[in-house]
Symmetry: C2
Subunit: 244 residues, 2 copies
């Protein structure tokens, strides 16, 4: 029996997670363990300073008052009766591409799975306020999950999937794009004239790289990027030796 | 005039951040922008769903009710009068080594600096409940900062420094160690007999790698690891092509 754990960062009420779980059910036993409320941009956060609660919502659906990383840990150690064969995180409303993957709770759910030694996929879908449709992303996630179960990735490699809106031209194996980050923080005044600050959506100044996830989705292709948790810049080891 | 931004994840009241700022002051103008309260293990989280407040605590010390990533963004866009030449995050109470760097708020502060195009260092110090002393870590951070200002790292490379307790045998340029993660979650009952869960400290099952940060600090060496934000597993690109 194939067992699949599904999590996300938009919360257990998000339609994206149910579209994903429904698409994966033909492959095996699917259990959802997801945050109680939206936990976007929480990165790879782990809740260590307070205890966590788990609430069940019907058959095979659990909500945790924590992050996607918390959900994966609690699922594996406390909720699931057997270890999963695969962890799938998503479907996120909005891309998780390029340098932004390190902020993403969706990607962190899959990263945590990979660190714990499981096959894992993060799935994100382009999103605008007017329009979103998880059909293509859910169907591709199921197809990729089936292939991955037959031919697992080595070591701690996991897959980051991004699906554009509209007609899909094909699928590409990509690298993480580079974005030239520019911070924008908005300053406003409250009714008592005290300032408060909003972190704004970052502006888009992407490096042009035809092999990248950003380029693939912009061209109408589904992007699949193999990611892994080692941040070492091996090329800089000697530069550091010259410094110290 | 050299300008240095100092942040951390233990909060602006932590003695580690003041030891660091004091050691860096001979190099130039130092401003502290740090979380109001402890924000350990928050990873690379960005606060997007609520506004943030900034409070000043004396000359050049600011507290933000958010994460280290929030602090860096608000500092650069709203608090500092000039762009910094260097961002230093720490000194964290406890190592940030191996795969655990992706959970670390301390490392995330430096990662955010690197993504924004600045030179950046994360500094962590071994810590036990009985004993901690930031002297060696602060003094090494200042020495490394001075060297880095003269000879900056290329691209988005930043430095992750870990300092062991006791007598320092030397300094090593290292790679990120691999840890075989095993989840432990403790289940307890509240006075109303309802369960709640604590995520426990992960157990230590490190891969033996003599080039790693974990090995260096265990041998009594200061570890300096060059990190960068690209998670792509380039070796797996062709494996993904075979799947899709």
């Amino acid at each position: 029996m194939t067992r699949i754990l599904v999590t996300n960062d938009d919360g257990h009420l998000s339609p994206g997670i149910h579209a994903l779980a429904d698409a994966l059910r033909p492959l095996g036993d699917v259990v959802i363990v997801a945050p109680q409320t939206e936990a976007s941009a929480v990165g790879h956060a782990l809740t260590l300073r307070r205890p966590l609660r788990v609430e069940q919502f019907g058959e095979g659906v659990y909500a945790v008052d924590g992050t996607p990383t918390d959900c994966v840990n609690i699922a594996i150690d406390q909720i699931l009766t057997h270890k999963p064969d695969l962890i799938v995180s998503g479907i996120n409303k909005g891309f998780n591409i390029g340098d932004d993957v390190t902020y993403s709770g969706t990607v962190a759910g899959a990263l945590e799975g990979a660190l714990l030694g499981f096959q894992a996929i993060a799935v994100s879908q382009q999103f605008t306020r007017e329009e979103w449709d998880f059909t293509a992303a859910a169907s591709f996630a199921a197809q990729l999950a089936e292939a991955l179960l037959k031919q697992p990735m080595p070591g701690r490699t996991f897959l980051n999937v991004n699906v554009p809106m509209g007609k899909i031209k094909g699928i590409r194996s990509t690298v993480q794009a580079r974005r030239n980050h520019i911070t924008k923080v908005a300053r406003r005044l409250d009714p008592r004239q005290r300032p408060y600050f909003w972190i704004e959506e970052a502006s888009d100044d992407w490096d042009l790289d035809e092999a990248s996830d950003h380029h693939a989705v912009n061209q109408g292709y589904i992007s699949v990027t193999p990611l892994q948790p080692d941040l070492t810049d091996h090329a800089a080891i000697d530069l550091v030796k010259a410094l110290i």
